[in-house]
């Protein structure tokens, strides 16, 4: 069973990232991925127009900012409507490498997995210390919270079948969605695997990443939503 790259839809939430997005789309195209769904999440820059006028990607816009989780969910729903067989989550800031998608898809298909997560810790990546500490804390939190032990959390690159995407149905609009996905892996009993990926840390992507205060906020929101269930 070979992999047809047109079966894979790359979903990208876009928020004030007009500097990088064209490069990201081009690198995806260069790697054979032409089904790209971008949801501009109420950006104040001209990313939407740039993508619309310069690429063949499917792009739409949240008229008001609803958060990365919400934008990703919208992108997934559009991809499913377009007949996607596989859904790929990808970041707009250029920190992911399109070359990592193929091995993830291969693992998904050959291993009959429901979802494959990218892990920056399974490969030699230069990860800034602050980030490393934060992520290790996140790994521990995920274990305590969702009872799954991963080598990486809150990594934006994921590959899944469209059936999985339908089941996921992301409810957390903001950054908590990344933990929500892990939680749902456990709840829905999904078959998952981790695959090493590279992450390119630049000053630019670091400035857009998550901070310590933000992490506390995420933990708080997740716990309170769990209590309410």
């Amino acid at each position: 069973m070979g992999l047809n790259k047109s079966d894979a839809y790359i979903t990208i939430p876009l928020y004030n990232d007009s500097k990088m997005i064209l490069k990201v789309i081009k690198s995806l195209n260069d790697n054979g991925y032409n089904n790209i769904v971008i949801v501009d999440d109420g950006s104040s820059d001209n990313g939407y127009e740039l993508v619309k006028n310069n690429t063949n990607a499917i792009i739409t816009k949240h008229i008001i900012n609803r958060g990365q989780g919400a934008a990703l969910q919208t992108a997934m729903e559009i991809a499913i409507d377009k007949g996607a067989k596989y859904i790929v989550h990808f970041d707009s800031d250029g920190q992911h490498n399109p070359k990592d998608i193929q091995p993830m898809l291969n693992t998904l298909i050959e291993g009959n997995y429901d979802i494959v997560l990218g892990s920056r810790f399974l490969k030699k990546n230069k990860i800034p210390l602050k980030k490393r500490i934060l992520l290790k804390g996140g790994i521990l939190f995920t274990y305590l919270f969702s009872h799954i032990w991963l080598t990486d959390v809150h990594n934006g690159i994921r590959v899944m079948t469209s059936e999985t995407a339908k089941k996921l149905n992301i409810q957390h609009d903001r950054f908590e969605h990344a933990s929500e996905i892990l939680d749902k892996i456990k709840i829905l009993n999904l078959k998952y695997a981790e695959v090493p990926v590279t992450i390119k840390y630049t000053k630019y992507s670091m400035s857009k990443g998550q901070s310590i205060s933000n992490s506390i906020n995420i933990a708080y929101k997740l716990i309170s939503s769990k209590i309410r269930e």
């Binding site: 769904v37 949801v39 499917i58 792009i59 739409t60 816009k61 949240h62 008229i63 008001i64 609803r66 919400a70 969910q73 919208t74 729903e77 559009i78 409507d81 409810q171 609009d173």
Partner: protein, 109 residues
Amino acid sequence: MVIQYVATIIIALIILQLISKFKKDRVSWPRTLIWILFWCVGIFVVWFPETIAKIAQVSGVGRGVDIIIYISIILLFYLLSNQNTKIDELNKQITKLTREIAKNNAKTK
């Protein structure tokens, strides 16, 4: 005491506002009724503080003012958490709406 008249006027204004909101169809009648009752109890307590002092003594709180403070805080927290739930709900609805618009927009392209 002056404070009793001031409190009565303030509460009366609040009740009048409630009634006018109800007339404009902005609040449901059970809600209006509950709040009017609540404020009537308020007026009663203002004019007969000894009743609340009695309750405070019997319940072991001690001072009448303390019992009002306790009840107020409980009520405030309850209302606050109600508001939070409502805001969460509203946020979900706004996201849904935004998503539908975005999806429709994607179709026309």
